[in-house]
Amino acid sequence: MILDGKCPTGPIEKSWDKHRFDLKLVNPANKRKYNIIMVGTGLAGGAAAASLGELGYNVKAFCYQDSPRRAHSIAAQGGINAAKNYPSDGDSILRLMYDTIKGGDFRAREADVWRLSQVSNNIIDQCVAQGVPFARDYAGYLDNRSFGGAQVSRTFYSRGLTGQQLLLGAYSALSRQIKAGSVKMYTRREMLDLVVVDGVARGITVRNLVTGEIESHAADAVCLASGGYVNVFYLSTNAKGCSVTANWSAAKKGAFFANPCYTQIHPTCIPQAGEYQSKLTLMSESLRNDGRIWVPKKKEDCGKHPGEVAEADRDYYLERKYPSFGNLAPRDISSRSAKEACDDGRGVGPGGRGVYLDFEESIKRLSEDTIRERYGNLFEMYEKITDENGYKRPMRIYPAPHYAMGGLWVDYNLMSNIPGLFVLGEANFSVHGANRLGASALMQGLSDGYFVIPYTIGGYLVTVKPGSVKNDHPEFKKSVEDVKTRTNKFLNINGKKTVTEFHRELGKVMWNNVGMARSKESLTEALKVIPQIREDFWKNVKVGGSGTDLNQQLENAGRVADFLEFGELLTRDALHREESCGGHFRTEHQLPDGEAKRNDADFSYVGAWEFKGNDKEPELHKEPLKFETIHLAVRSYK
């Protein structure tokens, strides 16, 4: 099937304004008749729930944490982009759009990226009004810093806490609506199934994580803002609870999963220290404003104290290879370069899987106090984990899975191929193409939540009669039964291996075979191994406790079971995409200098997969990408 994103036509500058005008409106008096479900309360879900509640809709919001304030958006450190051009350094909406399309290696939809760039400015204003304490200068004006993939300073920030501050802004707006009664908040609930009646999304089935009760919730529209899936690699920068479960439950009900192979491996994370490790910690990309990345030129220097490696013997490889962007080259490129240096035997630290991020020169130029003021909390975090002082000795960093550019397929209105199912933020695939630039995830989450869905959902709701399906419909009962059956299945296997052991096993396969560099051989191997692990899981997993109690083993079992299915789809997508682009690097497809070699003639499309069961091949649907404003070009940061 050829998919249609239903993007507006005509001049790009007018596209969103025209579309908003063309959308039908829901009469204010009718809004309260509509129920909307929001799954996830991070930047996208929190902002959307607050905005929709304020418009007058009845919103039910769900999160698996104990409070909506804890979604993993909170961990974003560096900043949020906007095309304000406050520093007058040549920024504009068009330039932000251009950088984002190019950063994504020409695999995103133009109209969506234009809209994102246009509303980026509104986001900053909105957050300021909420009391988000952005960094300011002494005169009181908003301050900016630079991020990867851009030659302008357009990143707004709040110390190394930008995600926290933006999320708490959205949480405060959400709290106001909860108090007002327009949003009903359900915490410690995990969505386990999407309920589809006659082809239309009508509600969800959730597990109350405290009592174990399986609950049915009906609505006129269901929004998923349930985040990304890179915990499929087991070790990642995501929170432990991040999973593909909500998205995968929708995929199993027919929602297409787009570009799952576009995963972002972030270049600046603290290297793994041991087998027992449960997660990896990111060090903000903003550090690369002042930190210089290097490895020794000679292998024999790798074991030395970094201070003993002479300046002439250091390879500042990003500055060498990409002189115009230097240490601020985009993430996919920086990560691959780090891997190449380590594969070349020039990595540092335990196992040789690390490169230096060095602040010596910046401290000399600016003083240690200035560096502390800019990144103090990040140095503190680094020291807690590694017991090393980043001011005195270069930090050691290594790439780690961080973000999912892929996600459920949505049209321009953020609606999936299932009518009534909307997908927001990291959970959808829409704007980042094959690689996301730094400080763009926060921008997308809040754009979708504050400024897109409040308009586009109305265009759908006017076409449906409110409350036409209730949660006593047979499809809801069937969904509850299905969830209970699966829960009992987990509890009754009583095998020999823990859920975590299976998750680690899957993660290793994904990281080694479907990680930073992928080949036909490694992917084929993964496609052989993943079903074996899955089969073993269903025979040999050990999940204790009961289904009617708080049971973290059971929660994790469901998440890992879904990763074991989804990981295969991700691998399949990577195998089918015979090109390198952004975060998807196929070793067979590279330019003579080792850069990604795209194949625009054959792969300039969104690959949206229809899942048909574990024993059947998924079906690929394509949405061709058109570039009318930004011309297709080889991406160069040299």
């Binding site: 304020e54 409070s67 204003d125 952005f134 009181g140 806490l161 949480y171 609870g241 823990t498």
Partner: protein
């Protein structure tokens, strides 16, 4: 860098089936722990052993494991988050302990935080306080340009100091009165310092204070235990600021 010595530790952990169960301490052994394990990874290892042995693992709240989500909440050897400066449980590393140590692990204990199971407590009361007024009542859209409101750097920085609160509740757990004054004071102060928050300052401090009392939190009697427990170093001066705001509000 590191040697590969491992530690064996004795854990004395609070186990409680549910809110109505009286609960009790149980003793466990953590083996093969290195200095690079985080505290939660050490507990993960103990739990893996318990699962293999067919016993119920210890449940505890955790999520981001990088010190920002505020989910983790354990009192370790009597100190919320383990008593290290500016450190959450998930950031605490085993290099702070030595081979043979005995470690006591308990949940947050406060009237307003009922225990759900083992080390997990219900902190919904903190959300209730924010819902009472921890926001500016701005609408989505229709707000002025970000630079239309000038906020000099020192004010922005002080507001950020208050806004660093991660809502974990360690201040409550550390306080002999089970007060949430540091939590509430931080939000009141953040918004009182900023021009955007001034318009509703009077109603905000009254409503949030009332919510705090209704939720069953105690009052401040200047022990400063909250500040010592706070993993983000939120300063007690924000309690003083809240008190000033509260007194001013009585005459507004």
């Amino acid at each position: 860098m590191s040697d590969h010595k491992t530690m064996t530790l004795t854990l004395i952990v609070w186990r409680q089936k549910n809110a109505s169960d009286p609960g009790k301490f149980e003793t466990y052994t953590a083996k093969n722990i290195t200095e690079h394990h985080s505290f939660l990874e050490m507990l993960d290892c103990v739990n893996e052993d318990l699962i293999h042995a067919g016993k119920e693992p210890i449940v505890f709240d955790h999520d981001c494991r990088e010190g920002i989500c505020g989910m983790c909440s354990q009192v370790i050897n009597g100190a919320p988050h383990g008593g290290q400066d500016r450190t959450t449980v998930c950031q605490l590393h085993m290099r702070k302990f030595k081979d043979g140590d005995t470690i006591y692990i308990e949940p947050w204990r406060a009237r307003a935080f009922p225990i759900i199971k083992d080390l997990i407590v219900d902190r919904a009361a903190l959300d209730t306080i924010i819902q009472a007024g921890g926001y500016t009542s701005c609408h989505t859209g229709g707000v002025p340009d970000g630079n239309a409101i000038l906020i000099p750097k020192p004010i922005a920085e002080e507001a950020t100091d208050a806004a660093e609160c991660i809502g974990c509740g360690a201040c409550v757990a550390g306080c002999p009165n089970g007060a949430a004054m540091l939590f509430t004071g931080a939000k009141v102060s953040q918004l009182a310092l900023l021009p955007q928050g001034r318009a509703e300052a009077v109603a905000r401090v009254k409503n949030m204070t009332n919510a705090m009392i209704e939720c069953g939190f105690g009052n401040c009697s200047n022990h400063y235990e909250c500040m010592a427990a706070c993993p983000k170093g939120v300063n007690v001066k924000f309690i003083a600021r809240m008190n000033r705001e509260f007194i001013k509000a009585q005459f507004a």
